[in-house]
């Protein structure tokens, strides 16, 4: 028994003996908010991203490393709108950090600052994993990023008033560069307007809304339900009669239904980053993320369907 107590105490000592860092600790649920917090906070923040662009944010578990980071954080930045419903409540209950509780000062929910799309009139699980507050993948429209950046900069300043002017300055700089970039992307993407596309998962509602792309179908019959052979077959019939120009997907998604489709049609598959880090070169960089998004969409459009060949 004494040996046990000694062991417990040594684990305790291990826990306490770590120096505290001065920077504001930000726990970002998704890579886009980590990148944004980093852009606005610079060296004044220490940002941890709970997920990467290669992971399906719906399917995360409240694993030990996340609990430990949650416990230490000063600010939580998440999409909200139930995107993290599977794991954030579990994390909150294991993470013992009241500063991050919903409604507390350190709780920042990005979806509060944008207009939600795809809000269902009624919710029923037979429709798949639908979100009652609307489609949560808000980061695919850069205009949403602009709407969230201001309140996030204010939040950083509120929690860390000593560096308030630095946050304000970084925000002003970011906002200027972002506004210019959005008009550049919008202009470059003009040929995409009205183009018909298929998505792997209903993840691009905001992107399509911004660029005027027309989503005619989704590989998933219902959100979160993997496509069956019969559904894909029906889709195949549909695309043979419709001028669908590309299949849009993200790195974290199962590639096999996409390969199935591209093997049987000459529609190119276009991989987009979805979040910073989803494609090499976009890590922790929102500008690069949208540069690559627009570039790949235009490259997909440039492929004549009768030439076949998916990238």
């Amino acid at each position: 028994m004494n040996r046990l107590i000694t062991l417990f105490l040594s684990v305790l000592a291990l826990g306490v003996a770590q120096p505290a860092s001065a920077a504001l600790k930000v726990f970002a649920c998704e890579a886009e908010w980590a990148a944004l917090a980093h852009a606005l906070g610079g060296d004044d923040v220490d940002v941890y991203s709970a997920t990467t662009a290669l992971q399906d944010v719906h399917k995360i578990q409240a694993r030990p490393s996340l609990i430990a980071r949650y416990r230490k954080a000063d600010l939580l930045v998440c999409t909200g709108a139930e995107l993290e419903i599977g794991w954030l409540p579990a994390l909150a209950r294991k993470g013992n950090n009241p500063d991050l509780n919903p409604g507390a000062r350190g709780y920042f929910e990005a979806s509060r600052y944008v207009t939600m799309l795809d809000v269902p009139a009624s919710v029923d699980r037979s429709q798949g994993d639908v979100h009652p507050y609307g489609n949560p993948h808000i980061q695919t429209d850069p205009r949403n990023i602009a709407r969230i950046a201001g309140p996030l900069a204010d939040k950083l300043a509120e929690l860390d008033p000593a560096h308030a002017s630095a946050y304000a300055q970084r925000y002003a700089d970011f906002a200027t560069r972002w506004t210019a970039a959005v008009s550049r992307w919008t202009e470059a993407a003009a040929p995409l307007k009205g183009i018909q596309v298929i998505s792997a998962h209903k993840a691009w509602t905001y992107l399509y809304d911004w660029l005027g792309l027309d989503e005619v179908a989704s590989l998933e019959p219902k959100p979160g339900i993997p496509p069956s052979g019969a559904h894909l077959q029906a889709l195949l019939e549909q695309v043979r009669q419709q001028p669908v120009r590309m299949i849009v997907y993200a790195a974290y998604q199962d590639p096999r239904p996409i390969e199935w489709m591209t093997q049987r049609t000459d529609i190119p598959a276009v991989k987009l980053p979805f979040s910073p880090g989803g494609i090499e070169g976009t890590e922790d960089d929102l500008f690069a993320t949208f540069d690559v998004t627009i570039r790949n969409l235009l490259a997909g459009l440039a492929q004549e369907p009768d030439q076949g060949a998916a990238p």
Binding site: L54, A62, A90, P102
Partner: protein, 401 residues
């Protein structure tokens, strides 16, 4: 039940300034109704051996029989949870079980836990599954196999859940370090029996964990349990009572992996636990008056190791190996009594299991499992086949590690 009511009453009094619950869009359901979910769990079981499933060298606790042969709906669970105010969160699990044609309603869990204690502390009070071990706090519908490992069945009567309080502290480190303890009523096996007053059982546990690379994560645990029993009854029909002390020390380890940490298509979970229990006291075998008693000094060990791999989207396969061992000192191993069963510690009870399951979504799962069970006396074996369904209705389940 009354105790629990008192506990929650005390909790709400402690809250002093009962502020209205905060507006919540993330953790709540968007309105003030509690989150409700219903778990439907049913099976079909086939056994090649229909003798009583005793284990030599062990006195089994209540409700440790394998699932009923044929079709059975097992346990249907109703879970209601909600934040109570800015300080407290409440949880209740009610199980509806079918026992010999009668429906039994059992309060499996009914607890309140704190939301806003400082310094990384959290407290829980009421009835709850202990945080000892890895599998113990997971509900049966979240297990990767139909049945509990043999070591859980024989040393903890399935799962340790009791009335009491828990205090847990989380270290402010990048490495996950958690330490906690529980003071318990001691009503649950391996404590139990008459004259429960004060703290008749306690636990202490520590967990350490982290990530390995971009796709792996692990957690290791060490724990201890001590409880006293006074005429603790074994099994359902066996007239055997134990009075004495029971102590268990356990270790547990789990490793999870998925490519880039994305479990959508492929993922792997490997877990292993080991426990050692020592008991000393008196065992009385008392079938209708002809009582036989004996001093009993027991030393029992058990472990299991299992791996579950998702080999394609929605499909998983798993293997498990279970092993037990006992070295008991029974002063009077009277023949044809449970004392003789307890003294029969020469065997090494073991079991091999294999399972395949299919999950159409996060809310539904169908499972086929085969067990080669060699845990009965005299090396008897049993081929066990299970078909199981688990459906979850209502609010979204939490992805516990």
């Amino acid at each position: 039940m009354q105790r629990m009511l008192l506990a929650s009453l005390a909790g709400s009094l402690l809250g002093i300034t009962a502020q209205p619950a905060l507006a919540q869009t993330q953790t709540g359901s968007g309105n003030f109704n509690p989150k409700i979910s219903l778990i439907l769990d049913g099976k079909y079981a086939h056994y090649s051996n229909d003798t009583e499933a005793e284990i030599p060298g062990f006195l089994l606790g209540p409700e440790t029989e394998p699932p009923a042969s044929g079709f059975s709906i097992g346990e249907s669970e109703l879970v209601i949870e909600s934040n109570i105010d800015d300080q407290f969160h409440g949880w209740m699990t009610i199980a509806l079980e079918n026992e010999d044609g009668e429906t039994v309603v059992a309060v499996e869990e009914a607890y309140v836990d704190t939301l806003a204690l400082p310094y990384g502390l959290a407290a829980k009070f009421g009835r709850f599954y202990s945080d000892i071990g890895y599998l113990n706090r997971h509900h049966p519908h979240a297990w990767d196999f139909v049945d509990a490992p043999l070591v859980y069945r024989s040393l903890l009567a399935g799962q340790l859940g009791d009335d009491g309080v828990q205090l847990r502290w989380l270290a402010p480190t990048d490495l996950f370090v958690e330490i906690g303890g529980e003071a318990l009523r001691g009503a649950a096996y391996p404590a139990g029996g008459d004259n429960r007053s004060g703290i008749e059982a306690w636990t202490a546990f520590t967990h350490v964990g982290g990530d390995i690379g971009s796709g792996g994560s692990w957690r290791a645990g060490l724990w201890h349990y001590a409880g006293t029993a006074e005429d603790r009854r074994s099994g359902e029909d066996i007239e055997t009572g134990f009075t004495g002390d029971s102590r268990i020390t356990g270790i547990d380890f789990v490793y999870k992996w998925a490519p880039n940490g994305n479990p959508l298509v492929h993922n792997l979970v490997i877990q292993a636990e080991a426990m050692r229990r020592s008991e000393n006291g008196t065992v009385v075998h008392d079938p209708d008056g002809g009582a036989v008693a004996s001093r009993y000094d027991g030393d029992q060990v058990g472990w299991y190791v299992q791996g579950v791999y998702q080999f394609m989207r929605r499909w998983r396969a798993g293997l498990r190996y279970d092993r037990l061992g006992a070295s008991n000192d029974v002063a009077n191993p009277a023949a044809d009594t449970t004392l003789a069963l307890l003294a029969d510690d020469g065997d090494a009870p073991q079991r091999y299991s294999a399972m395949v399951d299919f999950s159409n979504s996060e809310f539904s799962r169908l499972r086929l499992q085969y067990n080669r069970d060699e845990s009965r006396p005299d090396g008897q074996s049993d081929d066990q086949i299970y078909l199981q369904y688990i459906f979850s209705l209502g609010s979204h389940p939490a992805h516990q590690f």
